[in-house]
C-alpha cells in the first residue's frame, strides 16, 4: 500500500496539525503543569535541570518565562483559572500574592527533600530554591572596583558609566533602598534618593528599562557598571566578557527565590513533585555550577568554586534582607515618582 498524498489528505493532515494547539487538553499528558521562571538564564536552567528530574517522577513540567512582577500581573488578570500551576517569585511578590489569596499554603510532609533544606528556606507557602546575593557588577578593564552605592555617584571614574533601573525590578529596588539608608532615608523614605537623582541625573550613564536590558548594554560597551546579582555576573563571564562582582560596603542585599503553588492549581501532586525536584540535591548541585552558580538552599549541597568566589556562608549571614512589606506599601508611588525624576 502506498501513502497517497492527494489534496484531501494533505488538507486533512495539515489541518489536524494546525488545530492541535486549540485542543490543548488532548495534546498534553494529564500529569503536566505550567511553572513560571524568570526569562533567560533561570528559564534555561529550570528547563534543562529541574524539569528532567521532575520527569523522573512522571511529571511533565512546562517552564513558562515571566518576570516576577509579570507573574503577579497575569495571576491577577485571570484569578478564576490561574495561568500557572507554580510560580517563581521573591518575598515582595509573595506578600502581594498572599494578600490577594492567589497562592496555597503547602503541606511540607509531601516534600521528601524538605528536611534537607536550611531552616530559613522553609516557608509556609513553599520552599526557597536559592538566595540571590546582589551587589554591583563592573568591568575591571575600564573602571575601578566600586566601594559602594554612594561611590558610584561621587567617584569621577564612574561618571556616565553606570546604569540604573526603576522600581519594577527587585534588584534595583533593593539597591535604591540601600542607597536611601546611606542618605538618611530608608524603606519608608525614598526622598533623599530622588533628590540625589534629580541633582545627578546627568552623571548617570543610562536608565534602562529592565534588568536584562542592562546586560545587553554592558555587552555593547554602553555601560560598565550596573546593579546585579551574582548570577548576572556569572552569565556575562560565560559569554567571555570581563565582569566582576563588588560587595557594597553597606552590605549586600539578599533576596530568596521561592516556588509557590497557585490557588486552584490543576494538579497539586505534580506541583509537589516539581518543588521536590527543585530542592533536590541533584538539581541544586547542578544549579550551583556555571553558568548559573545559584546559592543552594539544600544543606547537602556544597558551595561550588564559582559561588565561593562571590559568596561565603558569612556573606549570607551578614546579608541585608530588605523590609518587603514597607517596599510594597510604597512601590507604586516610587515607580511613578521615579519616572518623573528621570524623564527627559
Amino acid at each position: 500500500m502506498t501513502l497517497r498524498l492527494n489534496r484531501r489528505n494533505f488538507v486533512l493532515g495539515s489541518t489536524t496539525l494546525l488545530a492541535a494547539p486549540f485542543i490543548p487538553k488532548l495534546a498534553r499528558a494529564s500529569n503536566s503543569i505550567v511553572a513560571a521562571a524568570f526569562p533567560g538564564t533561570w528559564e534555561d536552567a529550570f528547563r534543562s535541570i529541574v524539569a528532567p528530574i521532575a520527569a523522573q517522577s512522571g511529571v511533565d513540567v512546562t517552564i513558562a518565562p515571566a518576570l516576577a512582577q509579570d507573574q503577579v500581573g497575569r495571576m491577577m488578570a485571570s484569578a478564576g483559572s490561574p495561568p500557572y500551576d507554580a510560580l517563581l517569585v521573591s518575598p515582595g511578590q509573595t506578600a502581594m500574592l498572599e494578600e490577594a489569596g492567589l497562592i496555597e499554603e503547602i503541606d511540607p510532609s509531601r516534600l521528601e527533600n524538605w528536611d534537607l533544606l536550611i531552616e530559613s528556606a522553609k516557608t509556609p507557602f513553599g520552599p526557597h530554591v536559592t538566595v540571590e546575593v546582589n551587589g554591583i557588577a563592573y568591568n575591571p578593564e575600564t573602571v575601578p572596583t566600586p566601594s559602594g552605592y554612594l561611590d558610584l555617584f561621587e567617584n569621577p571614574a564612574f561618571e556616565g558609566r553606570a546604569a540604573w533601573i526603576g522600581f519594577g525590578s527587585n534588584t534595583a529596588t533593593m539597591a535604591w533602598v540601600e542607597l536611601a539608608k546611606l542618605l538618611g532615608g530608608g524603606a519608608d523614605n525614598m526622598q533623599p534618593v530622588f533628590d540625589l537623582l534629580a541633582e545627578k541625573i546627568d552623571w548617570i550613564g543610562a536608565i534602562a528599562n529592565s534588568g536584562n536590558a542592562q546586560q545587553t548594554m554592558y555587552q555593547q560597551g554602553e555601560i560598565d557598571v550596573f546593579m546585579a546579582s551574582t548570577g548576572n555576573v556569572a552569565r556575562l563571564r560565560s559569554l567571555g566578557l570581563p565582569c566582576n562582582f563588588a560587595h557594597p560596603q553597606s552590605g549586600s542585599p539578599a533576596i530568596p527565590v521561592a516556588i509557590h503553588m497557585t490557588k486552584g492549581a490543576s494538579n497539586p501532586d505534580a506541583v509537589y513533585a516539581y518543588m521536590d525536584a527543585a530542592i533536590s540535591t541533584a538539581a541544586q548541585s547542578q544549579l550551583a555550577e556555571p553558568p548559573t552558580g545559584y546559592v543552594p538552599t539544600n544543606s547537602e549541597v556544597p558551595f561550588t568554586d564559582l559561588i565561593r568566589e562571590f559568596v561565603t556562608p558569612e556573606t549570607l549571614a551578614n546579608a541585608v534582607y530588605p523590609d518587603w512589606a514597607a517596599i510594597n506599601r510604597n512601590r507604586a508611588e516610587w515607580t511613578a515618582e521615579f519616572d518623573r525624576v528621570v524623564a527627559l
Binding site: 513558562a64 485571570s78 483559572s81 536584562n212 545587553t216
Partner: protein, 272 residues
C-alpha cells in the same frame, strides 16, 4: 541669464530626487543589511563590526538540542499566522466584494468600521480584549490570539481584495445568475477565482504582520504559548544572543523570496 537660472533649478530638482531619494532608499535598506551582516559573526556577542565571519550561529539555530525553544516559538508563530490568514480571507474577501457592489454612499458610511483596526493602536485593543475575556471568566488562550489577530489584520486583506474587486466586471456575475446559478454558487465559482490575486497579496501582508505582532499576543496568549517575536525580544534583552542575528537572516531571506514570488504572481502595484 534666465536660462542658467532654470538649469540650476532643474539641477537642484535632480539633486533633490536622486540625492535625497538615493539617501532615503539607502536609509531604508541599510539596517536590514546590517542585520544580515551581523548574523554571520563568529564572535559570541553581537558587537559591530563583526571581528570575523562564520555560519556558527546558523548552525546553533538549526541544532534541535540548543534551540528547541526557538523552534517551538517559530512553529507557534507560523501556525497562528496561518490561521489568521485563513480567517482573514474568509471574512474580508467577501466583505470587499460586497462593498464594491454597494452604493458609494453606504460604502463610505460602512468602510471606516471595517478599517478602524488599522489606525487604532493594537496595544489598546489587546487591553480591551483581555478585559472582556477576564470579565467573561475566561483566561487567555491560543484561540483568543488567533481571533485577535484576525480582527486586527483582516482590514489589510480587505484593502487588497477591494482593489481587485472593484475591477471585476459586474456583468460576469450577472451572466452567471441569469444562467440560473444561485448567489452563493456564483460567488464561489465566478467571483472568488477573480478575487484570488487580491486575496494572495492580502494573505501575504496578513501573514507577515501576524508573525510580527507582539502586543496582541502578549496580552491574549496563555503563558505556555511563546511566539517568535517575543522569544527574540527576550533573547535580545537578556544577552543579545547571537542566534537572534541568524533568525533575522533567515526571516529576511524568506521575506525576500516570498516577496519576489508574490510580486511575480500578483503585482502589488498594477501598471497601466
Amino acid at each position: 541669464m534666465r536660462d542658467l537660472r532654470e538649469r540650476l533649478l532643474d539641477a537642484s530638482y535632480w539633486l533633490f530626487v536622486l540625492g535625497f531619494g538615493g539617501f532615503a532608499l539607502f536609509y531604508m535598506i541599510a539596517p536590514i543589511g546590517i542585520a544580515v551582516l551581523m548574523s554571520f559573526t563568529d564572535g559570541a556577542t553581537l558587537r559591530f563590526p563583526p571581528q570575523g565571519y562564520s555560519l556558527r550561529w546558523y548552525r546553533a539555530l538549526i541544532d534541535p538540542m540548543q534551540s528547541s525553544q526557538i523552534h517551538i516559538a517559530a512553529w507557534n508563530s507560523l501556525s497562528i499566522a496561518a490561521w489568521t490568514t485563513l480567517g482573514a480571507a474568509l471574512v474580508a474577501a467577501p466583505a470587499a466584494y460586497g462593498l464594491s457592489r454597494m452604493r458609494a454612499r453606504s460604502a463610505t458610511a460602512l468602510e471606516p468600521v471595517l478599517l478602524s483596526p488599522l489606525v487604532l493602536p493594537s496595544l489598546v485593543y489587546a487591553l480591551a480584549a483581555l478585559l472582556v475575556i477576564s470579565n467573561l471568566g475566561l483566561s487567555p488562550a491560543y484561540g483568543f490570539v488567533v481571533a485577535g489577530h484576525i480582527v486586527v489584520f483582516a482590514p489589510l486583506m480587505y484593502r487588497t481584495s477591494l482593489a481587485v474587486a472593484q475591477q471585476i466586471d459586474p456583468s460576469l456575475a450577472e451572466a452567471s445568475t441569469t444562467l440560473g446559478a444561485g448567489r452563493v454558487r456564483t460567488f464561489a465559482r465566478v467571483t472568488m477565482p477573480a478575487l484570488v490575486p487580491g486575496v494572495l497579496a492580502g494573505g501575504f501582508l496578513v501573514f507577515m504582520q501576524s508573525m510580527d505582532n507582539v502586543s496582541v499576543t502578549l496580552f491574549l496568549a496563555d503563558p505556555r504559548t511563546t511566539v517568535l517575536p517575543l522569544r527574540m525580544f527576550a533573547m535580545i534583552e537578556e544577552s543579545l544572543d547571537a542566534r537572534v542575528g541568524a533568525i533575522s537572516g533567515l526571516l529576511i531571506a524568506a521575506t525576500i523570496l516570498t516577496l519576489i514570488i508574490v510580486q511575480r504572481l500578483v503585482p502589488f502595484v498594477r501598471r497601466r
